[in-house]
Every structure is written in structure tokens, then in C-alpha cells.
Amino acid sequence: MSYTCGLLPVLDQHEDHHYEMSEYEGAKARWCPGCGDHSILTAVQRLLAAEQLVPEQTMMVSGIGCSSRLPHYMKTYGFHGLHGRALPVATGIKLHRPELTVFVTMGDGDCTSIGAGHWVHAMRYNVDMVAMMLDNGIYGLTKNQTSPTTPQGFKSNTQPYGSILPPLNPLEVALGITNASFVAQTAEWAPSHLYATLRAAYKHKGFSFVRILQRCPVYTPAIYQKAVQDPARIQLLVHDDGVVTPDLDKIYQSQLHHDPRDLAAARALAEQTETIKLGVFYRDPSKPRYEETRRVAPRTPAERVALLEKEFARYAV
């Protein structure tokens, strides 16, 4: 695909402008008070400011759900599409405009239920973007229905006698997908870890899947509460190639040195759910990226016409 814009002189008008965090703020966020999504929004805005991302060259793509409202609260370009279908839209944007920086926001239902097929394939395409799954273990927007990540036994409006199935483990799924290149987990109540993880995801060239544990104060206030109150239930995966957060050392004393290049170890860790593990499970920047392997030389209209004349000659009577 061509970016004909690349043929135009590039005016760099951004060089001397310093973006404040407030310049990334869009409409006022309308999530419930105490919703973990607020903290995620702040972390994203902080990241954009820290990296001085140009607002018009940054895209927020989302599906449908409480979490998918995030693009409206940013001052970047945004596309708030269909439930479960953020990833195909984001893929199309990147295929045509690889120079844009793309962030995707999905809910747990969005990503692991209705959009599960796209999730698997997006991981495999490994198109360069940050894909955030805001996991509150419930369908929030539609008011308290069981999601694939709802803890077993949890009572919801659709499974009032308790969630029937054991929850799907998104990390295990992600780490099982061929060509996965970045898998991490963080939590919205550990803002510096959240920020550091999103930053690592942004820095990674490829599809960065980040599961963000997120509290829903209305429907699932309890599911992460023990971990919030008792840091011993959390283990940090630390590594220079992953995430390091020295400011959290005092709170989270359980730490494990994990090399994100070690896929087998990452899978083994993903399986262990007695403690919640935060950090980069896996990262391999050498995995092929679809938008790169599919990159083709752009054509001008005149070149295209000349080539098409030749093509017609093949079909000449």
C-alpha cells in the first residue's frame, strides 16, 4: 500500500511544541466514581505526554463496553467501533497508515468472548500496536453479566447461582498463539506499574497485549480486593528487558526475576494463578510484523495507468 502523503513534503511543525498532559485530554470521563478505567486513562495520557506523541498521529481504537469509551476522553484521533471488533479496524488503519501510533482498548467480554477470534489472529499478525484489555471480570456496560474471565462461582445477572465455568486465562491463551511477541499483565491500582508496563508495550515493535486488571466498583468490587489489600498476593516479574518499578519494591516484596525471552517459563508462570503476577511475561522483538511483510512500494497514478495498460495487453483480443 502506498502512503501518498509520503510523496508530499513533510512539514515538521511539531518540533518546538511541547505537549502538556492536558493537551491529550478529551471529553470529561463519565465512568463511575472509583472505576479503575480512570486510572488507566491517566496512565495513557501520561505516557503520551512523556513520549511527546503527536496527537494527530496517534489513534485510539476501541470496541464497545465501559472501557471502550476511552477514545472519547482523549484528544487524539479515535475510532469507537463495534463490540468485539476493535482489532480488525486497528489492523486496517495500520496496514494503510503504518506511521500512525495505535492504541486499542477492549473489555474482557470484548476481547476474550465476542472478539476472541480477532484477538487470536491479531496476536498472530503481530501488527505494531498496544492492545489493552481492561479486565474487570464482568460485562460492565450491559450491567452485570458473566464474562469469560469471571471467577467461577461469582454470581451475576445471567448466572445468578454462580459462574458455571472456570475462568478463561487470557495470558495462557495469548502465550499459546504462534507469533505472539509481547504479553504482559498489570493492574490499575498499581499506577506506576501500569505506567511502566504500558511504556514497555509502547516501546515494543509488534502487537503488545496487555491485560490490565481493573476493578469495577459496582459489579465486581470484590474480585481483586484481597490482592489490593494484601500485596503479598501479588508477585512482580522483574527484568531489565521487562518492567522494573523500584518505587514498588517496598510494597511488593514478592518478586521474581523472569527473562521475558523465555517462553516456556512465561507459559509456566501464566498457569500459576495462586498469586497474581504482574510484569512482562514474554517479549520477542524479532517476530515478523504483518504490516512490514505486506509493505509494498507505492505507485503514482501515472505509474499505475502504465502498468494497467500492460495488464490489459495480456487480455487483448
Binding site: 484521533y77 475510532f79 471488533r85 480488525p88 488503519i93 477470534g117 507505492p298 499505475r304 483480443v317
Partner: protein, 629 residues
């Protein structure tokens, strides 16, 4: 009858001079009948005959040998002048076994006096079952006045090659070349092209078999067919409708085709996959149709209009995304190469049953543009129009073709290419101060589209109801207004269209209205009916949403209006069916709604293109001699 020995001095063949002739070549799948038919069609076009070729495709990839369901091949209709459809029945058949011949006989494909050249080794088989099948077939065929000429094709081939299974099709091509007086040098060029990836040896043995067939026919076939040829006054190209769609997409400057494989649409992507990259485009095979549509929408939103291509079941899956394209006013081109439905239906066969789904299948009010090309040539040009309309009107444009256009091969004048057909380079200029995401013109509903990368824009588009600024809005006033703005665009487009032209007289007893691939067959039927003295004309529509203007005035000049469509409709007179409960043809529903004219319909779903003669019958049924009541 047995073939005369090759040594006997042949009497000069009888020459049959005809304005048109239809040939079929049928075999088990994999025996190469299609390659033979394609080369024969291409050479005939080059020589100056009108040609319409259709593929006869079994639904399975490897059906067992020698079964009627496995019949595979081509039907080629040749004419002195342009041929616009596959015609009625076949005049000459080459069959590689009697079972595939039976298949064609049973669907009433063969003219009563058809000449049949058939491989006769089956009659001499050591397998008693095969001989019995042969005998039974001959008995079944004897009800007609076919002239059956047995040909020992494999025995002949064996005189120069070891494996007659490969290359028998070239022997058959030689037979046709002689009977129809085709230019052998041109055939050899086509063979060289068809086998360009194979060795010189393969080419040589194919040419030897071709010549063997030619000489055998010279010595043994007592007739020849002559169809006058006319050198074309402008350069022609020959291709099928799906290739034309692909080339049209290239000519329009689109750079992304996102798809998921589905017959009969897939061959567009086969073609594009081969060539698109050198034009700066890619074919993205997505994980499913939903994703394909999403990827196309994402790419379109971000810059140049992209397209997605599918058939009925795939269009159903894309439904929710199509509504999103309309709601976010993201230009998108969708091509639906229609097949028989509902459900998986008739995967390889033609039907025009997706019109209402295309028009009204999305949830909510989802105004968009729907067009249908009528010819292979229009398949090319419609893609250029579709891209431009999608961009100008900031909406979804659907293009409905069908399996008849997709697999039909026919020559058309080579388009004079124009750079202006292509999408403009991306505009990344800063957005004007105060510019809205949807700055709807109150009269037209049109607005400028702003793509990411433009400083000062930074809008978030959403499928939720929204105001001009793309702010999520739940108030009834805003929804009413934005609905009107999206709807208005369709009326604006209609105001720019010209009324369609009537084929034939502008008034009369009956006006036949059609859409899509049936144009050639309908107009041929109208010509024949007029020769019988019936006052019939026809009208063919390219736009279904908006409809072309002026229809009511055109209809008023006819006593009766009737659509002819390849979709199901009840017939008055069927059990339980009356005027009120009759389920009508899809175009007739649309036209009745738009014009309040009592538009009748005639529809059939035979799993094949309509034959002109069946349309003539329908016309006779609706217009008794002496005029309509």
C-alpha cells in the same frame, strides 16, 4: 455409427453457414475440458466472433469419475455479432464420457438436433458395468434427434503419446479448430501462453495432439460450421467479470482488498493476489468476513477507500460493520458476487436473491448506495464509480454482481484509462479552526471527511448516535437530524442521475424491467418477441439505491410492467397464492414501493443463467397476441 477409417479419401464436408452456434465441451473434472473451452473461446474472439463463455462447474473438487454430477467444462456461444448471454441450447457437444453427457442432456442443455462427438472407448470397455451404463445412456439419449458421432479419442492420442489422459483436451481442441475453421497459429499462441510455466516438451506434445485432432476431423467429420467474423473497429479485451472487477479496483486507485474466501467471489482475490502488489495494493485474507470488513473500514477511515468482496453468506456476517460504515460515514466499497441462497445455498450457481438483504439487511435506518453492473465491461467501470461515490458521499457503496458475470467470459472494448479515476493523494493539511467531524450541509447532508494525521482534527468517530461534532448524543432531536442528513445524501445522488433509456419502443403493451447480469438475455428475448409482433420493450437498472429517476413516467407508457429476475417469486395460480399473499420478485417489490405501479414479476431460480427462450415464454404468457388487457 462407426468412424470412417482415416485412410479413406474424405468427401468435401458440408458447410453450415450460421449467424451463431453454441458449443459445449464436458469431461470429468480434471480432464482439461475447461482449458480447451477457454482457448477455443479466446481464439474465436480474436478472430472476430462475438463470444460468451461460461464455466460448467461441479460443486465438488474431486467428484468420482464418470458420474453426471461431476460434469465439468465450458459452454461457448459464438456469434457473428456481439454475444451478450449464454443463449438457449447447445448445437455441438464434445463429451469425454457418456455420463457427463447425460448431465447436460438432463438439464435440457442440448438442442434437439445437437451434434455430439463422444469418446467411445467406454462402449468397448472390458468392464461389463461400464458397457451397461453406456448402453443405458444411449437409450436415454435416443428420445432426441441428436446426431451422435463416436470418436476413439484416447486410441488416437495413444498413437503419439503414452498417457492419453493428459492432452485429450488438446485433441478435442483440434476437432473444434477444424469444424469451426479456427486459426491454428492463434491457437498455438494460446497454448504457449497457457503452458508458459511448463517445459517446451509439454508445449510440443500439446501441439502435436492439437494437430492430430485437426487432421482426424478433416478426414472423418463430414461438416463444417462457418460463422461470419468481423474485425473489431476498436481494440478489445476478453476476461471474466471477476477479473474485470479486480482490474476496475486497480484502475480506481484502491489499494486494499480485504476478503475471506467464498465462491463465486474468491476469484477476484485470486486475480488480485497475483498482480495487486505491483500496483501498490494488497489483498488481505482476514480470519473471517467480519474481520475483512473491519480491516477495510479501518483502512478507509485512515485514508484511501478500501473494498471488501464476498458472496451472500459473507455479506450477512458483515452486516453490523456495514451499518458502522454508514453511521460513521466511512466510505467503503463492498462487492457481493451473488450465488444461490438462503444459507449455503447453491455455492457455484447464479442467483439475484440478495438485493433486499443488500438494501435493507442492516439494522436501524442505514441509507447507502447499491449498484449492479449488467455486463462484464460494466464490472470494470462500476468499481471506479463505486470508489468515487463512496468518497464523495462518505458512505457505503454496494456492488451486486453474480456468478453469471463472475464466470462468464466475453470481449469488450478496451477502456481508455484515466489517471483521474484514481483516488487523490491523502490530504494531511491542518483542519480549519472550528471544523466539525461531520459538518453536514443542511440541504445535502454532505460533509468533508477528516482523516487521522491532520492537525487540529482529533475527532473520535463512533457508531453511537452523535451530533456534528461526533459527540455521543442520545437526544431525540439530534438522532432525527443526523438520520435525515445520512438519508438526504441518497436523494442528492438521485438528483444527479439521468433517467434510464428504454430498449425498444418507448410505449407498448409490456415493459420488462431487469437488473444485473440478465440484461443480455432480456434484450435478446425482447428482440425475438418483437419479431413475433409483440409490443414489448425493456429497461435495465444499474442503480438500486437510489433508484434511477423518472421510472414512473416510463412505466406509465406501458399497459403492463413486469420484472424478470433470477430470484424466487410465487406465481398466481399456485396453491394458496393470491394477489395479497404473493411473495414477489425483489426488484418488483422495490419498484412497486417507489412508483405505486402494479409491477408484476417473473422469476426463476434454476441455478443457471436465464435462457432467452424462457424469457420469451414468460413474455408471451403476459402479453397475449393482440395486446395486453
Amino acid at each position: 455409427m462407426s468412424a470412417a477409417s482415416a485412410t479413406a479419401a474424405p468427401a468435401p464436408p458440408k458447410v453450415l453457414r450460421v449467424p451463431e452456434h453454441t458449443v459445449e465441451i464436458v469431461s470429468d473434472s480434471g480432464e482439461g475440458a475447461q482449458k480447451c473451452g477457454q482457448i477455443f473461446g479466446a481464439v474465436s474472439a480474436k478472430m472476430g466472433n462475438g463470444v460468451w463463455t461460461v464455466e460448467l462447474i461441479p460443486a465438488e473438487i474431486q467428484p468420482p469419475p464418470r458420474v453426471p454430477e461431476g460434469a465439468s467444462g465450458n459452454r461457448i456461444r459464438l456469434g457473428e455479432h456481439a454475444v451478450t448471454n449464454w443463449g438457449d441450447r447447445t448445437n455441438l457437444v464434445i463429451a469425454f464420457n457418456e455420463q457427463v453427457l447425460l448431465a447436460r442432456h438432463r438439464v435440457d442443455s442440448l438442442a434437439d438436433d445437437a451434434v455430439i462427438l463422444i469418446e467411445d472407448k467406454w462402449a468397448r470397455s472390458e468392464d461389463a458395468d461400464i458397457v451397461a451404463q453406456w448402453d443405458a445412456a444411449m437409450k436415454e439419449l435416443s428420445g432426441k434427434h441428436y446426431r451422435i458421432i463416436p470418436v476413439a479419442m484416447e486410441d488416437q492420442c495413444l498413437t503419439i503419446v503414452d498417457n492419453p489422459k493428459k492432452g485429450k483436451n488438446m485433441f478435442a481442441l483440434g476437432l473444434l479448430a477444424r469444424v469451426y475453421g479456427r486459426d491454428m497459429e492463434r491457437i498455438k499462441e494460446q497454448i504457449a501462453h497457457a503452458f508458459r510455466k511448463k517445459s517446451e516438451e509439454v508445449y510440443n506434445s500439446n501441439v502435436a495432439l492439437l494437430e492430430l485432432g485437426y487432421h482426424w476431423a478433416e478426414d472423418n467429420i463430414d461438416f463444417r460450421v462457418e460463422i461470419p467474423t468481423h474485425a473489431a473497429d476498436k481494440p478489445l479485451v476478453v476476461m471474466n467479470g471477476n477479473e474485470a472487477i479486480g482490474m476496475g479496483a486497480i484502475a480506481s486507485g484502491m489499494e486494499l482488498c480485504a476478503m475471506y474466501p467464498i465462491t463465486p467471489a474468491t476469484s477476484v482475490s485470486h486475480y488480485l493476489s497475483e498482480v495487486f502488489e505491483k500496483f501498490g495494493g494488497i489483498v488481505h485474507q482476514a480470519e473471517d468476513e467480519i474481520a475483512a470488513c473491519g480491516v477495510a473500514i479501518g483502512a478507509s477511515y485512515a485514508g484511501k477507500v478500501a473494498f471488501t468482496i464476498t458472496s451472500g453468506p459473507g455479506m450477512a456476517l458483515k452486516t453490523e460493520f456495514l451499518g458502522l460504515a454508514v453511521m460513521t460515514e466511512t466510505p467503503l466499497v463492498l462487492v457481493n458476487v451473488q450465488r444461490g441462497g438462503p444459507s449455503t445455498g447453491l455455492p457455484t450457481k447464479v442467483e439475484q436473491s440478495d438485493m433486499l438483504a443488500a438494501l435493507y439487511g442492516q439494522t436501524g435506518d442505514s441509507p447507502h448506495i447499491v449498484m449492479a453492473p449488467a455486463t462484464i465491461e460494466e464490472c470494470f467501470h462500476i468499481m471506479i464509480t463505486a470508489r468515487r461515490l463512496a468518497e464523495t458521499f462518505r458512505t457505503l457503496v454496494m456492488v451486486l454482481t453474480d456468478a453469471n458475470l463472475a464466470t462468464g467470459v466475453s470481449p469488450y472494448p478496451k477502456p481508455t484509462l484515466d489517471e483521474a479515476w484514481q483516488a487523490a493523494p491523502l490530504d494531511l493539511a491542518p483542519v480549519k479552526e472550528g471544523q466539525k467531524a461531520y459538518a453536514w450541509n443542511k440541504d445535502t447532508g454532505l460533509s468533508d471527511r477528516i482523516i487521522p494525521g491532520r492537525p487540529g482534527g482529533m475527532f473520535t468517530l463512533t457508531g453511537l448516535s452523535h451530533d456534528e461534532g461526533s459527540k455521543v448524543a442520545y437526544s431525540s432531536g439530534i438522532h432525527q437530524h443526523s438520520s435525515a442528513m445520512r438519508s438526504r445524501k441518497i436523494a442528492v445522488l438521485q438528483s444527479l442521475l439521468v433517467p434510464p433509456t428504454v430498449y425498444g419502443e418507448e410505449s407498448g403493451d409490456l415493459l420488462v424491467v431487469g437488473w444485473g447480469s440478465t440484461k443480455g438475455a432480456i434484450e435478446e428475448a425482447v428482440d425475438r418477441a418483437r419479431k413475433e409482433g409483440l409490443k414489448v420493450s425493456s429497461l435495465h437498472l444499474r442503480f438500486l439505491s437510489p433508484l434511477e429517476p423518472g421510472l414512473k413516467d416510463i412505466f406509465k407508457k406501458f399497459k403492463k410492467v413486469m420484472t424478470v429476475e433470477i430470484n424466487y417469486s410465487d406465481e398466481i395460480g399456485d396453491p394458496y397464492i393470491n394477489e395479497e399473499n404473493r411473495r414477489r420478485g425483489q426488484l418488483s417489490i422495490l419498484l412497486r414501493n417507489a412508483t405505486l405501479v402494479d409491477v408484476d414479476c417473473w422469476g426463476r431460480v434454476p441455478g443457471e443463467p436465464l435462457r432467452p427462450m424462457s424469457i420469451v415464454d414468460a413474455i408471451r404468457g403476459r402479453v397475449p397476441r393482440g395486446g395486453a388487457k
